[in-house]
Amino acid sequence: MKMAARPTPAANLAARASRAPTAQSHSGEQAVRWRGATYLLPALLFLGLFFLVPLLGLLLRGVLEPTPGLGNYEQLFASSAYSKVLFNTFAVASLVTLFSLLLGFPLAWAITLTPNGWGRWLLNIVLLSMWTSLLARTYSWLVLLQSSGVINSTLQSLGLINEPLAMVHNLTGVVIGMSYIMIPFIVLPLQATMSAIDPMVLQAGSICGASPLRSFFKVFLPLCRPGIFSGGLMVFVMSLGYYVTPALLGGAQNMMLPEFIIQQVQSFLNWGLASAAAALLILITLVLFYVYLKLQAESPVASSTAR
């Protein structure tokens, strides 16, 4: 259930980022903008009490337990296992982001292009898959992919393969299962961006003599950039923290950071080390988020205002 609750903060952040002020403005306008800030207080108070304070407690454990100091961090960096786990985590998150973008982009496009009623149906199907229990979907992949599973036995009875393909309990399984789960998080922001693009712009491009390929890469793709960025970042960050799917579809060799943290918390009660690992994950996520804001032309910290 932890997993199901996860998308919300990330989604909120991404949404907030894309709605950030369009340009740095002068002080009068700024004051007007901040007048509404008091309405934020209840939400801030809630987040402060139930999110920031526990988070701070968690981070403190990393430097206080079992003895005060940076021992936990030393242990993390000294262990070759940990750097491999960290590498696995990033490799999986990158692959999942790549594949869900490759699959989600055409889907979002198809939804945008299909006549109104049908497009909504397609979108509903995407949403429906998102609302189905994560466990049920993960186990379904297991049924399909395992060596005695649907795909392998079909291929074998057709005589296409002799030995079952190893599609699960390894990296392949994790990437397939997670990419599928992440597709809605690409499709939703991307479809919103695409449907806001004025088709006349594309038409203008082709009138000016751009080939279809050229107008795709020079006109359409750049216009989709905000959607690709917010979707991609959301998927990447969510993938960093995913636990259930890698645990069921992956092999132990591909251990990711969340599983390492759970092992330390639940089996070994080594909360100091777990906090240190969690703190690193948070730090990396924050850095990525900052980079993302930098790259978003409309955001207040952007390095340039050019598109």
């Binding site: 060596s147 251990m255 918390v265």
Partner: protein, 341 residues
């Protein structure tokens, strides 16, 4: 005025008293285990008779979560009274001061197999890691002992092993490599990992009992290390699986009381009931896990008795959970390094 006040006070006092009485009648405690058929059997064999005998209600909760247990004890708000934990955790938690010492005036220690009792915990049940195999995959050859796991030419296919760095996998690798049971500890990790390297690409890891059954019954794994109760259940259902009890590795679950538990006295009485000859035999009959009470063996159902670890004591090797309680964290570091290498 004075009179009024007094009568009001009396009323309040009477109310409080009434509540006190109601509380005594409604006394309850919580029992936490791993869910599924195991906890159902624990309820039927221990909790229900306990409530009948004492009037104390037993609230079922779970699953066991060591992190939660530690958090409860640390915060001083302990919601759990009796918890079913793995043996090595029971010893480790005791050394970290997370558990109440048991009252052996209430619990009959002398009736319990000394392997399965400590100052802070009493055995819940014990079980064996056994060599299980899928008969469709192994043909007419029957694997004998753990060395079959490493013999990929005679027994090809995936090997299912228990995922977590806990007693079992290291030991079976050493046994397969020719270490004699009396020389197992201290564990020679280098030797164990070298042996495991030879089948590393053929291992699929299971994290839960249900998953292990799915691997074995479907033939996803040809052979592997399993909990005896799970293989027994598959055989009962008619799956074509076989089992070898040679070198069966004994592990146990313990029942413990977290430090600061609110219903400590009731919890002690519950432990007495659960570890009694009748309670242990009843649970064993329901699950095919073995009783920790030495008097229970004669109470077992005759046709079941042969599929219990108690019937295979001669081939048995007891895993040293005290060793694991002390060295578990270090072994886990090495284990993780080997795993992701």
């Amino acid at each position: 005025m004075m009179v009024l006040k007094k009568s009001a006070l009396t009323l309040i006092a009477a109310g409080l008293l009434g509540m006190g009485v109601a509380n005594a009648a409604e006394q309850s405690m919580s029992f936490v285990s791993w869910g599924g058929t195991t906890q159902d059997a624990q309820k039927e064999a221990w909790a229900d008779p306990f409530t009948d005998a004492t009037g104390i209600k037993v609230l079922q909760d779970g699953p066991t979560d060591y992190g939660k247990l530690k958090a409860m004890v640390e915060s001083g708000n302990v919601q759990w009274d009796v918890v079913d934990v793995e043996a090595d955790f029971a010893l480790r938690a005791a050394s970290e001061g997370l558990l109440e010492p048991l009252d052996f005036n209430v619990i009959a220690r002398d009736k319990i197999d000394p392997r399965f009792v400590s100052d802070h915990g009493v055995g819940s049940f014990y079980f064996s890691f056994v060599l299980g195999y899928n008969q469709k995959r192994s043909g007419d050859k029957a694997p004998q002992d753990w060395s079959a796991l490493f013999d990929t030419t005679t027994f090809p296919g995936k090997r299912a092993l228990y995922k977590w760095p806990s007693p079992g996998v290291i030991e079976l690798a050493l046994l397969a490599d020719g270490v004699t049971p009396d020389k197992l500890y201290p564990l020679d990790l280098d030797r164990a990992f070298t042996k495991l390297d030879t089948i590393k690409k053929d291992i699929i890891w299971w994290g839960s009992g249900a998953q292990s059954q799915q691997f074995l019954a479907s033939g996803e794994a040809a052979i592997g290390q399993f909990w005896n109760g799970r293989v027994h259940a598959l055989m009962q259902e008619g799956a074509s699986v076989g089992v070898s009890w040679k070198q069966n590795l004994v592990m146990a679950d313990f029942l413990v009381i977290p430090k600061g538990a609110k219903n400590k006295e009731a919890a002690m009485k519950f432990l007495a009931q659960a570890s009694s000859a009748a309670g242990q035999a009843e649970f064993a009959n329901l699950t095919a896990y073995a009783p920790v009470n030495v008097d229970s063996v004669s109470l077992l159902e005759p046709d079941l008795a042969s599929s219990l670890p108690t019937a295979h004591a001669a081939d048995q090797i007891t895993l040293d959970y005290a060793y694991w309680a002390k060295n578990g964290a270090e072994i886990a570091t090495r284990w993780n390094e080997w795993l992701v290498k």
